[in-house]
C-alpha cells in the first residue's frame, strides 16, 4: 500500500532520471553502438532471450562486464536453469574475462525468489550489475514486474539484466531486448577458433532502432569486435528453431 506522497515521489524520480540520459558504455561494435546511441545504457533493465542458451549466457556475461566496470556482480540463477542449461563455471567466467572473485552467485528456488533477490541487489549501489536468470514465462514476471526492475535499477544506477532461456518474448519495460544465437567461427582462422561469436538481434530498443549483427567478444580486451563478415544475417532455412518466438508488445 503506497501513499500518494510516495507515488508522486517515485514519479518525480522517474522524470528526473529521464531528464538526464542514462550513462552509456560502448560495447565496441561500431554499428551496434551507433544504433544504441553511443552504447549500452547503464542503470536500467535489459532483456536477453535465448535462441541458444549457452550463447545467450555468454552474451549476457559480456554485457554485464561492460556495464559493471570494476564493480561486483550479483548473478541470480534459478535452480531449474542449472539443471537444464548447466551450472555457471568459475573458469568459464575467467575465460571470458570476468574475474570470478567479482561474482556473488545466488541460487533461487523459484522466479519469485529470483525477482526479490534481484530487487534487493539493485538497491545496493556497491554492485555494478545484477543478472537474473529466469527460465520460461512465469506469471510473476509480467509487465509490472519489469517496470519495478527498471525503477529499482534507475534509483541506484545498477544495471539489471534478465537472461531468459526457453522463454517467449512478452510485453516488457526493458530498455533493450536481444535475441541471441550461436554463430559459427569465421572460415579463415583454422587454429585459434572458439572466441565467443554471437548472432545478436537487437529486437527492441526504447531509444533507438533495431538491428541484427554478428558480434565477436574479445576475451582478452573485454570488448566486442565487429567481425569481417559483418553483414546482417538471415536465418538459414534448414536451421531448426530452438524456441518458438512470438513478438509482442
Amino acid at each position: 500500500m503506497r501513499t500518494y506522497k510516495e507515488q508522486i515521489h517515485s514519479l518525480q524520480e522517474l522524470l528526473r532520471t529521464d531528464g538526464q540520459p542514462h550513462p552509456r558504455v560502448a560495447l565496441g561494435h561500431a554499428e551496434a553502438d551507433a544504433r544504441l546511441s553511443g552504447g549500452l545504457a547503464c542503470g536500467t533493465l535489459h532483456e536477453v532471450f535465448a535462441g541458444d542458451a549457452a550463447a545467450a549466457t555468454g552474451f549476457t556475461t559480456a554485457l554485464a562486464l561492460r556495464a559493471s566496470g570494476q564493480k561486483q556482480l550479483l548473478w541470480i540463477r534459478q535452480d531449474f536453469s542449472a539443471l537444464e542449461q548447466g551450472e555457471l563455471s568459475a573458469t568459464g567466467f575467467l575465460d571470458l574475462g570476468l574475474d570470478p572473485s567479482r561474482v556473488i552467485l545466488l541460487r533461487a528456488a523459484n522466479a519469485s525468489d529470483a525477482l526479490r533477490a534481484g530487487a534487493d541487489g539493485l538497491s545496493c549501489s556497491g554492485l555494478g550489475a545484477v543478472v537474473m536468470e529466469i527460465p520460461g514465462n512465469p506469471k510473476i514476471l509480467d509487465l509490472t514486474a519489469s517496470r519495478r526492475l527498471v525503477l529499482a535499477a534507475e534509483r541506484k544506477g545498477v544495471t539489471a539484466f534478465l537472461l531468459r532461456p526457453d522463454a517467449r518474448a512478452e510485453a516488457s519495460a526493458a530498455e533493450t531486448r536481444w535475441i541471441i544465437r550461436a554463430a559459427p567461427s569465421p572460415e579463415n582462422e583454422d587454429d585459434d577458433w572458439g572466441s565467443p561469436i554471437f548472432d545478436a538481434q537487437l529486437a527492441r530498443n526504447r531509444h533507438g532502432g533495431t538491428g541484427h549483427w554478428i558480434m565477436e567478444w574479445s576475451c582478452d580486451d573485454g570488448y566486442f569486435r565487429q567481425t569481417n563478415s559483418g553483414a546482417v544475417v538471415s536465418a538459414p532455412a534448414d536451421r531448426p528453431a530452438a524456441t518458438p518466438l512470438r513478438r509482442a508488445g
Binding site: 549457452a54 551450472e87 568459475a90 568459464g92 575467467l94 550461436a182 572458439g194 561469436i197
Partner: protein
Amino acid sequence: MRLYAVDAKAAKLKLAPGMPLADARARIPALNVVEADEPADAKLLNAIADWCERFTPLVALDAPHGLLLDVTGATHLFDGEKALLDRIRKALAKLGFAVRGAIAGSAAAARALAHYADGTIAPPQREAETIAPLPIAALNLDYAITHGLRRAGLKTIGQVASRTRPELTSRFGKQMVFLLDHALGKIEKPISPRRAIPDFLAEHRFAEPVATQDVIEASISSLAQNIAAMLEKHGQGARRMEAAFFRADGAVHRIAIETGAPVREPKIVERLFRERLDSLHDPLDPGFGFDVIRLCADKAERMKPETIGFDANDNIDKEIAFLTDRLSARFGSHRVLRFQSQDTHIPEAEAVTVPAQQARSHSWKRGETQRRPLRLFAKPEPIEAMAEVPDGPPLRFRWRRALHSVARAEGPERIAMEWWRHQESMPTRDYFRVEDREGRRFWLYRDGLYGREHPRWFVHGVFA
C-alpha cells in the same frame, strides 16, 4: 519386568522402583500398569528444559528425570530465591508434574537436597552443614563406592566429610573426593548446559504476554540496542545473534542470523532479523503471547569502531557485506555463494562454491592454454557419438534428441582422473572442444579407450 517408577499412592502402599512386577501385582491385584517409554521421557525432559530456559539460559539435563538450572545472579529478577523456586514448582505442578526442587551454591548439593530434602534453600556458603544430615546416597556416587562407604560405617554425608581427605582418597579415589568437596561447596564445578553460554545477552520479561507484531518488533529493536551497547564497551561485534521467544504455554521459538563480518549496529541487526522472519514458512506464532524475549550474541570478535568512512572502497565493501548478509538471512547461507579455486585439474572440481559469508578473497589466474566452458553440467550427459577410431574427435553426435554435425574440433585434452584418490582404476577422459555447423560449441569427452574399455561419450559443458 520391574517397576520403573511409582506414583504417590503406590509409594504409600510400599511399592518402590526396582520391585519385580509379579510381586507388586501379587500385593495389589488391581494395579494400574503402564509400560515405561524412556525415549519419550527424554523428549519430555528436553521440552521441560526448553521451558525452564525462560529463567536462565544455563540449563543442564540431569537424566533421567532431573534438570540443573544455574540461576547465579538472576534470582533478583524473580524477587529472590524462594519466590523463584516456588514459581517453578507451581508452574510445573500446574502442567501436571510432581516436582521436587532445591537451591544451593553447588549443583551437587542442590541435587542432593532436591532428592532428599525437598524445598530446601541452602544459605549461601553453608552447603556443607545443610547437606550434612543427608544419607550418602544423596551424593549420587557409584554403587561400589556407596556400598564401600556403608560398609565402613559411614551413613550420612556429614560423617563422610569429617574423614580426612588422604584417608578417603586412598580408599575411594581422587574422583570421589572431588565430587564430595564439590557438593560441600569447596570446589567449583560448573554445569554443562545444553546450549553454549552466549557471549552477550539481553532480555525482556513481560508481566502480560505480548502477541502483537509492533510490540515484538519494538522489543527486538530495544534488545538490539542493549546488546550493541555491551558489545561497544568491549570493542567487539558479533557474527551470530539468536532471538528466543518464550511462549506462555511453554513452547520456544528460536531465530538466528549470521554475518560475514562482526556487526553491532542495531539497525543492521533489526533488518537481518526482519529478513529472516519474513522468509519463514510458518510465521512466528505467539499462541497466547510471549512471556520472555531474549537476544543472545555469539562469535564475538574485535571490531573497529564504526566511523563514517571517507574511503569509498571501504563503504562499497561494507555495502556488499550487508547485501550478502541480508540475502543469506532471507534465502539461507547455502544459497548465497562465491567461487573458490581448487588445486586440481579435474574440471568439475576446479572451482567450488562456498557460502559468501565465509569466503575469503583470493585471485584467479587465467589458464594459459585451454579454454573452459561457461556452463558445466553437474552430471555430464551421455550422448551417442560417431567418431574416428581409436581416439579421434566425434564427427556427429546426438544430444537431447538433436543431431549435431561437427564442423571443427580441438583435442584431445587428456585429463586423467586422480588415480591416487580412487580405489578402482578410473578411465581416462579425452576432452574435445567441438563446434557444430550452426556455431554451437560443446565440451565433450570420451570416457575410456576403444579397444580397452567400452568407451562412452558425454557432454560436460557448453561454451558461449
